[in-house]
Symmetry: C2
Subunit: 442 residues, 2 copies
């Protein structure tokens, strides 16, 4: 057996085994034949995972509460009456998603909190003085949060639970949101029974997540310190054509919604390619594309599709966005369709807290873990949280950068190194190294 990062960092084999054991148990909920999981928000499999998680943390003395939109709070009281710092991510997944995306971060958060609690108990039992930063006297309590519906596949938009928590979306609107079969979030949450009226103020937020890219792997780093999000403009387009017979209708008479929508998908990729000649500063995607009536011999009368444009540079993002809208007008002409722009979601590129980056770096150095700064292309619940409280976001490597795929993989050693770092960092945050304990809660 080779020496692993976690062994270097002094974690006990018991701690490592315990984490990996729990991770494998968790991954059985919604397990798919292809080695991934399907735990879309508010489904039975999501509910089972949430209840399994509740059982796990209650066994370690946490108290579990839910808010009105199903965010799950596992509360660990270290200092009665003290404010809370939160650590979390999400247990829901894509259909045919991987086992690591989100779930790793929630479990890592719980294990970090459990380790801190056990160290405190050991210190109290021996009466020894604190021997390091991670063992310093706590000034905060800890909430491990499992955010509802980060993925946004069954119910849109993504990052739903943290958007409500951070005041970006009204709870009532979210509860009335329907999935494609007409079930509301309210009904789905009631069905799995994990909803309540709890609310919590937190003083700071920490999240760890798999990278879902390959920059850590390519650079041989154990840990990524997320310095900023990419900006993202997401649009729902509705292409309106006119239903016609595919055989009998001559081209000149067609108003082909499928041609219009397909042209938009191709244009989005063209824009990514054109803007990224030098530095890959623009990424465009279309992940959902639904054709009506979708019959083999009918020219489509409507296509609904989502297009998103992302960039780290706000000026480049604005230029790419303008180009997309110029192309929309061109496509309307060529395909003889009308393209309606429905809902839009815009996230500006934003930096994470600099003091948090420094503290995370210091924690990694204390454990001899290699690290570098990265940007996140994907949205995370921390993207919301950083807008209301000081927030730290960490990444661990993803093999080949594969994500939202059953083949998603983070090696055990990389997972364990992440839990070690999260424990070290959370210990420092709880000890007041990130935000002061007298900081007014928000």
């Amino acid at each position: 057996m080779t020496i692993t990062a976690s062994q270097q960092a002094g974690t006990s084999n018991d701690d490592a085994r315990s984490f990996l054991h729990d991770f494998r148990s968790m991954s059985t909920y919604g397990a798919t034949a292809g080695g991934g999981v399907d735990r879309q928000a508010g489904t039975l499999a999501d509910g089972q995972t949430r209840n399994w998680f509740r059982g796990l943390v209650e066994g370690h003395g946490f108290e579990v509460r839910y808010d009105a939109v199903g965010n799950q709070f596992a509360l660990l009281e270290l200092v009665p009456g003290a404010p809370y710092v939160a650590v979390g991510s999400h247990l829901d997944s894509q259909p045919l998603g991987g086992r690591f995306d989100g779930a790793y971060g929630v479990l890592a958060g719980a294990h970090a909190a459990i380790r801190l609690k056990e160290r405190m108990a050991a210190l109290a039992a021996t009466g020894a003085e604190s021997s390091g930063a991670a063992d310093a006297r706590p000034l905060f309590n800890i909430a491990v949060i499992n955010w509802f519906n980060e993925e946004g596949c069954r119910f849109k938009p993504s990052m739903m639970g943290s958007s409500v928590f951070t005041g970006k979306l009204p709870a009532e609107k979210v509860l009335a949101t329907t999935d494609p079969s007409g079930t509301t979030v309210r009904e789905a949450l009631a069905a799995i029974g994990t909803v309540g009226d709890f609310s919590l103020d937190v003083a700071a937020y920490v999240e760890i997540h798999i990278e879902q890219g390959r920059s850590l792997e390519d650079n041989g780093l154990a840990i990524g310190l997320v310095e900023s999000t990419w900006g993202a403009n997401k649009y729902e387009f509705i292409v309106h054509g006119e239903q016609a017979h595919t055989g009998a209708t001559v081209i000149a008479d067609r108003h082909d919604a499928l041609l219009g929508a397909s042209s938009l998908v191709v244009a989005a990729r063209d824009i990514a390619d054109e803007f990224s000649m030098d530095d890959h500063a623009v990424i465009t995607s279309c992940g959902e594309f639904t054709v009506y009536p979708n019959s083999p011999v009918v020219v489509a009368n409507r296509v609904e599709l989502l297009v998103d444009v992302r960039s780290t540079d706000p000026d480049v993002l604005a230029a790419a966005d303008a180009e997309l809208h110029r192309r929309v007008a061109q496509i309307e002409g060529r395909a003889s369709v009308r393209i309606e722009r429905g809902a839009e979601h815009v996230w500006a590129a934003k930096a994470y807290d600099e003091a948090g980056l420094r503290l995370a770096a210091k924690s990694a150095e204390a454990l001899d873990l290699t690290y570098g700064t990265v940007r996140t292309l994907a949205g995370h619940d921390s993207t919301n949280m950083k807008d209301i409280v000081p927030t730290i976001m960490l990444f661990v490597p993803s093999v080949d950068g594969v994500s939202h795929n059953e083949k998603e993989l983070t090696n055990d050693d990389d997972m364990l190194a992440g839990v070690d770092l999260l424990t070290e960092l959370l210990g420092r945050v709880v000890a007041g190294e990130f935000v002061p304990a007298d900081r007014p809660s928000e």
Copy 2:
């Protein structure tokens, strides 16, 4: 009231009123809010329409039988033991289809047969000699056929019933075909109860249908005599990509099935435009396009789509088809996907019976109806039937060429003129003017 074509042709107002009355009754089955019908093959609405039709023709002394794949035969015996000529079309529709496509032809066939029967009865009652071609002594019996699943939207392929009847598809394969929810044709037919083990040899086939194009309207003609079908190559393509996160996966790492499929849709239109610079000799379409897993934040791992290429000229069709396949290879490179070609259906451009064209022209002249020859872009059951028996195909005008759309419209006068012509023509066919009565049945 203006003088209509049918009045010029000497049809009684009772006949006209009776046809329009029945047409309106029929159009209530599966009626949609937008003025069309939704009677996809083997659905409840299709079953209701078939039973309504059975009641109508049984009331006029027809006997109704079904074959193993649900083709409905309304038999009118005029000459005991004589061979049959068939007239027909289909009562099923597209989802949100029009009231006229197919249904007009079935009802027109039934009314033509009913009128011939009544004229024979009137002649027999008066003992008068036959006064014209349409009243000549019949040498054939008449079968009005409602073909199962001409549209091919719920169950693929289209023209299913007539394909089995003409030996192009095995009945067992058709019965095992499933719709998207997994229901088989066998189960759907059993559910609506219109299936049996009848079989019939026919000596000739006549079909009348709405044009679904605008050439008759543009040229001010009442009747189109279909001289040939367009050739059509239809392909099922499956684009294989790899599931990934839309946000986190850089463009270079993507294998985007949606981009590949969209590029194919755009390429198909490009080909139609390029080949049709001069004479619009090529039409391409994509009517069905299904994305997996179709989640907003996932790069698609698979898209299934149907692409068809049609032309009147076999050489042009072959060249357009070769160009399509050259583009497929290009697209595989650009989108980093693999494009699999699944099932294909190829119909060569074929001429209808020349003697039939002459007889239809003679019949139209006898009624003073304006007519011209046309080609059909769409497939019809007659496309199958003409490969096994002498076949005549007639069109009546479609307003603005709109079809496979709730707004599909053929004016009453045009419908009535078509029924008159069909009656005249069917009378001549039954009297032996098209095929000899001693022709061995096939």
